[in-house]
Symmetry: C2
Subunit: 342 residues, 2 copies
DNA sequence: CTGTTAGCGCATTCAC
DNA sequence: GTGAATGCGCTAACAG
């Protein structure tokens, strides 16, 4: 409840001096500085965020728009959120949470200067929030790359490339019939950018390699997975290599295949496109392309902060994927290949 | 960028009039009111949150402290978060996110008046944040009941009662050897209040009923589950009835039991203590005590808001549990009971 | 290196 | 039913 004025009086200096020891925006002699700090300590002073926001025109709060849908993987969302909050703190910023569906919220917090900038997750191809966000005069970064970013900056994992290197890995191992088990139907239908890009990357790389391929969505439950596997692996497709991009399915994958009398990797090789922890937390770790959720979240905040002060051109950053071979991929049955060829 | 003054000029009235049409704190004639609203619309005016916070001493922001641990179930956390954000909006409040480990954050946002109140999740028995929070002069509500609430209000699901009715249900069905599969070890060790209470409720009710019982923690992976089941069910304990309080295990439960040649419910009856969606989203729905995460989150916000203006006594609210029998519990093998006896 | 001072945009108390 | 004036607590430009 003590104000800066109280501190100034107690320390026998002027208000601005107190302000400046706090902000460090001009040099203060060691003596006065220590007197001010002593007074601050003595009075238990802490600055009033609202007053500061009014005078400085900066709230030190970032908005984060998170999806709270059923079909997004919550653990990945949490990783993003954790990364964003942690990074924001490094920039002395707090994080205000907005939900996907609260369209008015974006406009409100931005026009009322509740936030200094925004990070928006789970972008879809033609996202109605983007033109809205672009109008508001605050720095914003999209996690995901929409069809038209309206001049906003984007950061994303290069899902298309992730898909392509997964395909190439399988092809190099001699697999000639491969399949993609993708996100739930709902993600595809709303054209979540990651889902679209994984699929197009998969199809493109498969065609280039000249292998037989097919792909399908899959819900996150054992029944749906079993059906997908029946269609793609034991069925007419007869795939021997699988790319799986569906975090929630990973814990079910091994058991479900086992029930169908299929062994990994002897009968079917599997590449996962999944967050690092999902890929390696299994008893037998997956050959996988890791989605570095933490890095992406951190970078998103850094990009917002970069644009906060200096005017800066919009950019699209894609995080380059890397495949790590673990125990779930081997040379195709009947193939002469004993390992990847480069 | 238009200010209230601009609006006042454009409407040919004074600033205070504009303020009052916005707040509704005094009666305004229809004519002036519509002129003001027209001016607001024309100028695209929106109030500056910082200025409002300074003048009114209210930020219209609630703080929410969420756990970002490994051992908490993220989907449940998300449900709470969604409920809190949604409810907060009904009270014209935004939500600022703080993480568990950011101890200084609680103090910062509260002493700087960044937030008007706080909701804190994942309380442990002797939570170091509680004395800290109690000192700050802002309304706060704990989700969970600690040993000493330091005068703060608490809301929680009555986990002890949930556990007791689960036990009684099994006992009524004739089960004489029962077991509890609980939260991961880490939750128990840090004395998360829900984990402690589920266990004590389980043991108390088992003793009262005079049945054999045992309980143990279980990590959220198939191997750990298999080991727990070997110990509790097929091992010397020979439990025929199981209470499971570990959301992340539920998707694995059926498969793991199947691998061990155990059928539900013929060989073992299972009661789940889990969020509603987890309990019913399975192919065969569980007999369960539902954790109403949404209700709890909503109530937490309501309690904070109640304490925002009027001084109000601290209280502890416990949400009463209810068990819904579905297909995973039947009379014990060899029991004469054909159903629950009341 | 330090002090003085004029706002930042809004809420609210008085006066009418 | 309306207006004028003051202050909320802080920042930053200006003056020294």
């Amino acid at each position: 409840m003590a104000t800066m004025n109280d501190v100034a009086k107690a320390a026998g200096v002027s208000t601005s001096t107190v302000s400046y020891v706090l902000s460090g925006k001009r040099t203060i002699s060691p003596e006065t500085k220590s007197q001010v700090l002593a007074a601050i300590d003595k009075l238990g002073y802490s600055p009033h965020a609202g007053a500061r926001a009014l005078a400085s025109n900066r709230s030190n709060v970032l908005g984060l728009v998170v999806p709270l849908r059923e079909d997004v993987n919550v653990s990945v969302v949490m990783q993003f959120v954790a990364a964003v909050v942690t990074t924001a703190r490094n920039f002395q910023q707090d994080v205000l949470l907005l939900t996907q569906d609260d369209l008015g919220g974006i406009e409100r917090v931005t026009s009322q200067s509740v936030v200094d900038g925004l990070v928006m997750m789970d972008i879809v191809a033609r996202d109605p929030r983007i033109p809205l966000l672009a109008k508001m005069n605050k720095p914003a970064v999209l996690i995901g790359v929409p069809d038209d970013a309206h001049g906003l900056s984007c950061i994303d994992f290069d899902f298309a490339a992730a898909s392509r290197i997964s395909v190439r890995h399988l092809v190099d191992l001699g697999h000639r019939r491969i399949a993609l088990i993708g996100s739930p139907q709902a993600s595809l239908e709303r054209h979540a950018t990651y889902a679209d890009r994984v699929r197009s990357g998969f199809e493109e790389a498969s065609r280039t390699a000249g292998v037989e391929f097919s792909s399908r969505a899959c819900e996150a439950n054992p029944t749906a997975l079993a059906e997908a596997l029946r269609e793609l692996v034991t069925g007419p497709q007869g795939a021997t290599g699988l790319v799986v991009h569906n975090e929630a399915l990973m814990p079910l994958m091994r058991d479900t295949l086992a029930e169908m009398q299929l062994r990994i990797p002897e009968d079917v090789s599997v590449v996962a496109i999944a967050p690092t922890d999902v890929a390696v937390s299994s008893t037998v770790p997956w050959t996988a392309v890791s989605i570095p959720a933490h890095d992406i979240g951190r970078t998103a905040v850094e990009m917002v902060m970069e644009r906060m002060h200096e005017q800066r051109a919009a950019e699209v950053r894609l995080v380059v994927p890397a495949l790590v071979q673990r125990s779930t991929t081997v040379a195709a049955p009947g193939s002469s290949k004993s390992g990847p060829v480069h």
